[in-house]
Amino acid sequence: MNERRIAPDAVCVLERQYRFQWEPAQESFVLLYPEGMIKLPGSSGEIMKRVDGATTVADIVRSLEQAFPGVDLRQDVLDFLEVAYAKGWIRSK
């Protein structure tokens, strides 16, 4: 496996040029930035909703597992946050 930059006790926050919101016309969560929009459908939106600059990665996993019981989401969360980090959407506080 690649070296993880997002540790379970990390707290992530959106980079300042991005705004996260529910977009009714897209029926999806999105990230907005100057002149662009990234759709975050399904679980990616649910994860990003919890990236608030206060909640740890482990707590994001716990919160999601409460909302969607019976599914092991730990790996999904880590994978998504890795991608979000690599794309410069979020940083670790």
Binding site: R19, Q21, L32, Y33, E35, M37
Partner: protein
């Protein structure tokens, strides 16, 4: 929502609204893309009219809002529009020259929820050759740049390049670095409106372009990720047209100061089309039903070589306005394309531009101001419908 049986079935909602809230501007840029006859456009939309349009566009699905002009800071209700747009859920970018951007106003914009500022470097004096050394301009820019950073906006600096300033590229890059910008857009002039009038004066030589790109590449190598520098080549030097507006009536809705809704900044010039005014129609009807917005959707309108070209879904035949301006028929292939039978209309101009002499002798450069606009509004411009 969308009407069954109409073309609207395949039409996606607008994504980007550009609100040209005023044509008033303290600057007189020779490359301005506002219509040359802007002085005969009707009265500006009121605050309430703008808010209604923004609300309607948002309901249809628009999410990005650009507030531009003219100089949008000329309107003192900008604070209200920004705050209301934020409440509606827009991601709002203010496109400004910075002239008139005081700390009081930028603080109010921040408070209202403005998301981004694109600051453009302009020729604020008529002394084009001196514009980079103009102490007044540099100090103004530095002050505004400092404010933009102080209020924690991502800083995008836009510099329009042309024959008369492109050789100052090193000084422009140094200035951007000194200002601490995060993104720099080196946008070569596109030849519409005022820039079209001044094309002979503004089109750079091939050698000028080559040198500017080389210096920009050296700059990129030195500063790395610190500054993202984009260099946009003028399409006259390309062999395939730009995917103008990502397709006609596809994502972009321009609303001009007088309320005329357009699929691009320049479309008002096209003959035989009437574009609806937001004072008379709602945005949903304008976007899905109006003849103007449907005119060049899809590919049924295309002539050869576009009609049978495998690249038509990539560049949509280029720019309708450029096709009209250069060939007299908006349904022709954009002559930038080297498959166009009219491509020589581009290459002839490009070849003429290779002379190292400044072609000011041809005719004097035309500044964008009210006096010139009134002159250009008068005779034999029947293609532009009088407003109001």
């Amino acid at each position: 929502m969308q009407k069954v049986g109409s073309e609207a079935n395949s039409v996606k909602p607008p994504h980007w609204v550009n609100a040209e809230i005023t044509f008033r501007c303290p600057l007189h840029c020779v490359y301005c893309y506002n219509p040359v006859d802007y002085t005969r456009s009707g009265p500006e939309l009121t605050t309430d009219e703008w808010l209604r349009v923004l609300r309607q566009a948002r309901e249809v699905g628009a999410v990005q809002l650009g507030i531009s002009g003219g100089e949008p800071l000329m309107r003192d209700d900008l604070e209200i529009m920004i705050a209301e747009a934020r409440r509606m859920g827009y991601f709002t970018t203010l496109l400004t020259s910075g002239v008139g951007l005081t700390e009081k106003r930028i603080a109010a914009f921040k408070e209202g929820g403005l998301d981004a500022i694109q600051l453009s470097f302009q020729d604020s004096t008529r002394e084009l050759n001196d514009f980079l050394s103009s102490t007044r301009t540099f100090e103004l820019k530095s002050k505004v740049a400092k404010l933009v950073k102080q209020y924690d906006y991502p800083m995008v600096l836009n510099v329009v390049l042309h024959r008369l300033n492109i050789d100052h590229i090193q000084a422009i890059l140094d200035m951007a670095e000194a200002m601490g910008v995060e993104q720099l857009e080196l946008a070569n002039t596109q030849y519409y409106a005022w820039a079209m009038l001044n094309r002979d004066q503004l089109l750079p030589t091939r050698e000028q372009l080559r040198r500017a790109e080389e210096i920009t590449n050296q700059f990129r190598a030195r500063v790395g990720n610190k500054i993202k520098a984009y260099f946009v080549v003028p399409d006259y030097y390309e062999t395939r047209p730009k995917a103008c507006m990502f397709g006609w009536g596809s994502v972009f809705l321009n609303v001009a100061a007088d309320g005329v809704a357009l699929p691009c900044h320049e479309a008002r010039m096209l003959p035989g089309l009437t574009f609806p005014n937001v004072r008379e129609h709602d945005v949903r009807w304008i976007w899905y039903e109006s003849a103007g917005f449907n005119a060049y959707r899809g590919d049924a309108w295309m002539n050869e070589p576009c009609r049978s070209c495998p690249e038509k879904s990539k560049d949509f035949g280029g720019c309708r306005c450029q096709a009209y301006m250069l060939t007299g028929d908006a349904t022709n292939t954009d002559p930038v394309c080297d498959l166009s039978p009219n491509h020589h209309l581009i290459t002839d101009v490009v070849e003429k531009a290779q002379s190292p002499e400044q072609p000011v002798k041809v005719h004097p450069i035309v500044f964008r101001d009210d006096k010139n606009s009134r002159k250009l509004s008068e005779p034999n411009r029947p293609e532009t419908a009088p407003a109001g």
